[in-house]
Symmetry: C2
Subunit: 309 residues, 2 copies
């Protein structure tokens, strides 16, 4: 059986729970970041590694400064999902000996710029030569307060679901230049009790079921409320991916206050209630993607996007 | 200009010193691991990321259990070089959709076995699909006492140079099954004052000049003393690489006591004095590799392997 016949999520679901975890690991595989208690009474250590591959996450002709920016910002977006602050990054570049030195310099310029934007120190870097495609892998370490880290797992039935920004259309430009929602996420956990959170990298249609599954709940999305990027259709908002916006669940008792306070604090960035978490008879497998994704192509009107019960 | 015309070391030497480093970073790019003071009075955080590439670090037909073992053990060998203890690992697998699921399972079996050997928890893992070659990247976090971490930078003129184990011949089998010298390294820094240390991954002929350059000293190797693996020639010991043994510098005043104590503690693993650090008029560029590597092909007798002054 080939990888394409299983899907990453399912394979790793099978393999990773068997991995040995120490007692101090409070979040491991399956969450956006690993979160670990290293010294009693101190902030938790947060770790994340992510890579981008030529032809998959960026085109060969893309500006290497943009490529470096994206390579750094992707794991930082996972820090946003965890409400953690990134501090240190290690970079691995896998490139062929034919790669132009100038390309590598520009790549590092983008990596440096992105790191500087969030006060991250690049503490190591190395290159490995390969006859294949270019790969840039970035590992990030940082910290989060014990009472402020957020996982995908804490969503409760009845929670309101919110997304930041606008969805869809990222593939044209934004995916190379996005700014992880770290400031927004830190503000959220400072002032509100966020039950579950993640960043939207694969698209709402794939990512929301992951959050629901991790929280062992179902969901219902009001399609007419999805905040669409200019020119984007509902289908784009659901399935394109690379939005790098925050998706989070919060008790409805806090929703009103959140919406008022958000408008004052982040007047330029929309915050939209898109639906809520609800009960599910069976933990969803990949219900959203399989059963509902076709609904979004229904012409006109709106569809209550929900998972089969 | 292409990457092959510059060489990794030189390119990164140029790029990396410009990277912003926080005040708390005690070792960054250019050392085996990044070493960071995160909480005053506590052990230092140690970070390392490393990758292996199909066709470069392992052949396509290699046993995936061995490949997993090697992918985990390579960064752990850098922990040995730093005398640090690894605790947590994150894994990134880049593979094509054509990859057999069974291959991935076996890969993870090797990764798990290797992690377990050193009490490392695998706290995250993900796969990314690529039409290219298989890449496995492993990031490791751990700790080291403030008074026990070792870098490449502390070597002093007159220090004796030692290597553990035997050099050469690793390419046949050992490179897939080696055991990082963490236990030996921890013992060394517990009982002795180790001035500078690194692990031999690219071969003595490339790695020793790196240590010398980082320490701003020269070196002199007594070729007749190099501990050769069975069947290996002096040239293999110098240039083959993938030995994953420790190379370290220690004050000659401690050498005798070290050799006696080592024999009692690690009776099965040779420890060999191979030369010493000495003055250099100019910081070496890549003297060993460029100027001396040809010496090892001299027939018979021995050559005092030293860098041009």
């Amino acid at each position: 059986m080939k990888l394409r016949e299983v899907g990453e999520d399912k394979l790793l679901d099978q393999i990773l729970p068997r991995l040995p975890l120490g007692k101090t690991v409070v979040a491991g595989a399956g969450d956006d970041c690993a979160v670990i208690e290293i010294f009693a009474g101190r902030n938790f250590l947060v770790l994340k590694t992510d890579c981008i591959v030529e032809g998959v996450h960026f085109l060969s002709g893309a500006d290497p400064v943009d490529v470096g920016w994206k390579a750094m910002m992707r794991p930082l977006s996972d820090f946003a999902a965890t409400s953690a602050l990134p501090h240190f990054a290690l970079i691995t570049l896998i490139a062929s000996k034919q790669t132009e030195v100038e390309w590598v310099r520009k790549l590092y310029r983008g990596l440096r710029r992105a790191a500087k934007r969030f006060d991250v120190s690049i503490v190591g870097g190395e290159t490995s030569s390969s006859p294949g495609l270019i790969v840039i892998s970035v590992s990030v370490a940082g910290f989060v307060e014990k009472d402020r880290w957020v996982s995908r797992r804490g969503g409760k039935v009845g929670d309101d679901l919110f997304v930041t920004g606008q969805l869809g259309g990222a593939i044209k430009q934004k995916h190379l230049r996005f700014i992880p929602r770290i400031a927004e996420s830190r503000w959220l956990t400072k002032h509100f009790s966020i039950q579950a959170m993640m960043d939207l990298s694969d698209g709402l249609g794939i990512d929301l079921p992951r959050l629901a599954r991790a929280s062992k709940v179902g969901f219902k999305i009001e399609m007419e409320n999805l905040p669409l990027a200019p020119g984007a259709k509902i289908g784009d908002a659901i399935s394109e991916g690379e939005d790098y916006e925050l998706l989070f669940a919060i008790s409805p008792s806090q929703s009103k206050r959140l919406q008022r306070a958000w408008k004052r604090k982040f007047s330029k960035l929309p915050l939209t209630r898109i639906g809520q978490l609800r009960q599910t008879s069976n933990p969803p497998e990949d219900g959203f993607a399989a059963a509902n994704i076709k609904d979004q192509t229904l012409p006109g009107g709106y569809v209550h996007f929900q998972q089969p019960s």
